[in-house]
């Protein structure tokens, strides 16, 4: 706890700088990463991060010193060339985009390594600290770096908010965007340039591979929680910034721990948590939903079978044995006992020594399912002109999905029919 207070009191100016820096950086890259994610170009960011290495090395060789402006210009240029090469290769040849991305990534990076090792062998590399571009050194962030991040963040924010609608449209529906006369290619280039800018500014602090994570992972995490672009950007910026904070804190408490990788670990944890636990899109909630559907289907099928047996006998509520039920419709053993258990819990059937019988509320529920089935068959037959022998399988699935509103609509459309296409009575409760 003491270290936590110490950390947040920011008595150590260095801690403040690194915290602010990773905070800004996390937010900037997460924001631009959202658009890359939605345009399914997450890995392009990875490729660009690798591809700026030769630009930096060449800028260093030309400038002969570590002038940050020249280095950033070099990085931007080679990042752009990489971006354009990927686009050109994947659009104009049979090479697929994954190959184009991997090719540009590895060849540019290899070229960068070649130049970098040359600089190192000539003895100038160590003072230049060009190694930082590979693994990053978040701990050695300077006030100047933080200022750069703040400026880049501001630029990103201004550009994104002035072209928000356009960017949104080209991310979700580029075809429509071009049909309404938007300059899609220019906008795409603009958007990608923002990504290149974010990568270029961030790479010194976190390194090549981890920069890719800052772009991709927050967006992937945020996507699980929302389907609105605005909240997705906000959320992923929060994830990015908070992960920055966590990483800095961990490397503050354990000085041997590198900041960058811990930022990525925090991010990955957020992503994993989101993918598993997010409501609606999370794995758990989808599993729960699937189980609910399965339960609904099996119980409704048993009810329907019992109702139809009752119809055959001319009276509902008689005892039906398992044998008769299995003969009517072959249920899987395990599903059947699950369905019976659920039906008894809901008091729709009661157990008797020989089998089960429907209760009054059970009959109502069963007649609802049968009604939906037959109404749908009627609809398919009358309105969609399908043959009477073609409609049963479709009705078997739809009967579980039809809502009361659709049911009312169907009755209205069909004028409350008395009998279905197979000449069986459609049961109404009121």
């Amino acid at each position: 706890m003491d270290t936590l207070f110490e950390f947040f009191s920011f008595n150590d100016p260095n801690v403040l700088i690194v915290t602010l820096g990773t905070f800004f950086l996390g937010a900037i890259s997460a924001t631009t990463g959202c658009f890359a994610f939605l345009r399914k170009r997450s890995l392009v960011g990875d490729a660009v991060a690798h591809a700026i290495l030769p630009g930096i090395a060449l800028a260093f060789m030309i400038g002969q010193e570590k002038n940050p402006i020249i280095l950033i210009i070099g990085a931007l240029i080679s990042g752009w060339i990489a971006l354009l090469s990927i686009d050109h290769i994947s659009k104009n040849s049979k090479i697929k985009s994954d190959t184009a991305i991997g090719l540009v990534l590895s060849v540019f990076f290899g070229f960068g390594i070649l130049l970098l090792t040359r600089i190192q062998h000539s003895g100038a590399g160590n003072q230049a600290g060009l190694d930082k571009f590979l693994f990053g050194k978040a701990a050695s962030m300077s006030v100047q770096d933080v200022q750069t991040f703040a400026i880049v963040g501001l630029i990103t924010l201004i550009i994104l908010s002035s072209f928000y609608k356009e960017f949104k449209l080209i991310s979700f529906n580029p075809d429509y965007a071009s049909s309404v006369g938007l300059p899609v290619r220019t906008l795409e280039f603009f958007l990608s340039s923002l990504t290149v800018l974010a990568i270029t500014t961030g790479i010194q602090s976190v390194g090549v591979v981890l920069m890719a994570a800052l772009l991709i992972t927050p967006a992937a995490a945020a996507r699980s929680w929302t389907h609105r672009l605005g909240s997705m950007i906000l959320l992923s910026a929060l994830f990015g910034a908070f992960a920055g904070l966590t990483g800095t804190y961990i490397s503050y408490t354990a000085p041997r721990m590198p900041t960058g990788p811990w930022v990525v670990m925090a991010l990955s944890f957020f992503a994993l948590f989101s993918l598993v636990f997010a409501p609606k899109r999370g794995v758990l909630s989808r599993i729960r939903q699937q189980r609910k559907n399965r339960e609904k289907i099996i119980t409704e099928n048993i009810l329907k079978a019992m109702y139809q047996i009752g119809e055959r006998h001319g009276a509902q509520g008689d005892v039906v044995t398992e044998e008769v039920l299995q003969e009517k419709r072959s249920f899987l053993k395990r599903e059947f006992s699950l369905g019976v258990r659920l039906l008894r819990k809901r008091l729709w059937i009661i157990e008797s020594p020989e089998g089960w019988k429907l209760t009054t509320s059970g009959v109502t529920e069963a007649s609802r399912v049968v009604r939906l089935h037959r109404l749908w068959e009627m609809y398919l037959n009358q309105k969609m002109n399908l043959q009477a022998d073609h409609i049963h399988p479709n009705a078997e699935t739809i009967e579980h999905i039809i809502t009361p509103e659709i049911e009312r609509e169907l009755i209205r459309e069909l004028d409350r029919p008395e009998r279905d296409p197979h000449d069986r009575e459609i049961p109404y409760t009121s």
Binding site: S42, S93, G102, V107, G110, I113, T117, R118, I216, P261
Partner: protein
């Protein structure tokens, strides 16, 4: 050319051919970036194997790395299929996470792990001639990495010869493969296993990222040149060897990393093939729309 140069060239070529042959199948399956992901994600496997076995022995390293390589593919598939995360993002999330884990492990155990980050990145093929294999009777059998490279090449070639039909059919037509009793997923995992294995073996010589260059660039070059799988594999091998030779002398000339030189050379060959391809396909468009073999998709598709 001295004997040392020859050793380096043979080692480099063996690795380049092995990577390229497997890479051909990766790019045809649109899985090039999975190869990239594996090459990053084996890092924690190598570090763990290092810590557990306490040595730089090859066997534990291979097991650790191959394990993490397979874990990577399984995780990517889990995120993609179960969590419905789009594929590019699930690749990105998985490998960056595992790579970060590897870097953290290295810094935590920096005292115990004699693995420096530079070696992971560039590899040290220039030191190949120094690491000699000495026979039981004390005679020198040549550099150890060279024999490892040749062994790797043999394994990959045997794998492809034996599995040619399975790889071919499961690559171009997975549904058909299943219908004639070839399991597409078995071949998927076999290929992934071989890719992880090759990555680790090549690691020491050419480094993590440059393995990817050798896996993607020569096959992509060959793919632009031909539409037939057998010819593509042959051309891949040739471009792999050419990249090694030109790359080595390029690196010597400008006094840089050999692996970087090899990647650069492979990129230059791709550039040449790309320009040729563009000229040919433009000419094909203007010459009465005549059918151009370079513009059609894979003819092996029809055969399978």
């Amino acid at each position: 050319m001295s004997l040392n140069d020859l050793y380096i060239l043979v080692t480099g070529s063996a690795i380049a051919i092995s990577c390229g042959l497997l890479g051909s199948f990766l790019i045809l399956r649109k899985m090039a970036m999975i190869g990239d992901a594996i090459s990053h994600a084996v890092l924690p496997g190598i570090v763990l194997a290092f810590l557990i076995s306490g040595s730089r022995d090859n066997i534990p390293m291979l097991i650790g790395a191959a394990g993490f390589g397979l874990l990577t593919t399984v995780l990517i598939e889990l995120f993609h299929k179960k969590a419905r995360l789009q594929e590019d993002a699930s690749i990105g999330v998985t490998f960056t996470w595992l790579f970060a884990l590897g870097v953290i492990l290295i810094s935590v155990f920096s005292g115990q792990v004699d693995l420096d980050q530079d070696c992971v990145l560039y590899g040290e093929i220039a030191y190949v001639p120094l690491d000699l294999l000495i026979g039981p009777d004390g005679s020198i059998w040549g550099p150890r990495p060279m024999w490892i490279g040749i062994g790797l090449l043999l394994m990959v070639v045997i794998f492809i010869i034996i599995g040619y039909r399975g790889l071919l059919v499961s690559t171009f037509n997975p549904a058909y493969a299943v219908s004639i009793g070839i399991s597409a997923s078995v071949w998927h995992y076999l290929l992934m296993g071989m890719v992880s294995f090759t990555t680790v073996v090549s690691f020491e010589s050419v480094g993590a990222i440059l393995v990817v260059a050798l896996m993607i660039a020569p096959p992509a070059t060959a793919y632009l040149w031909t539409g037939r799988l057998r010819r593509m594999l042959l051309l891949t091998a040739i471009f792999g060897v050419l990249s090694t030779i030109f790359g080595y002398y390029l690196a010597v000339w400008i006094n840089g990393s050999v692996a970087g030189g090899m990647a650069t050379a492979s990129g230059v060959f791709f550039g040449i093939a790309y320009v040729r391809y563009r000229i040919l396909s433009n000419r094909a468009i203007y010459s009465n729309g005549k059918h151009n073999e370079h513009a059609i998709s894979h003819p092996e598709m029809d055969k399978a």
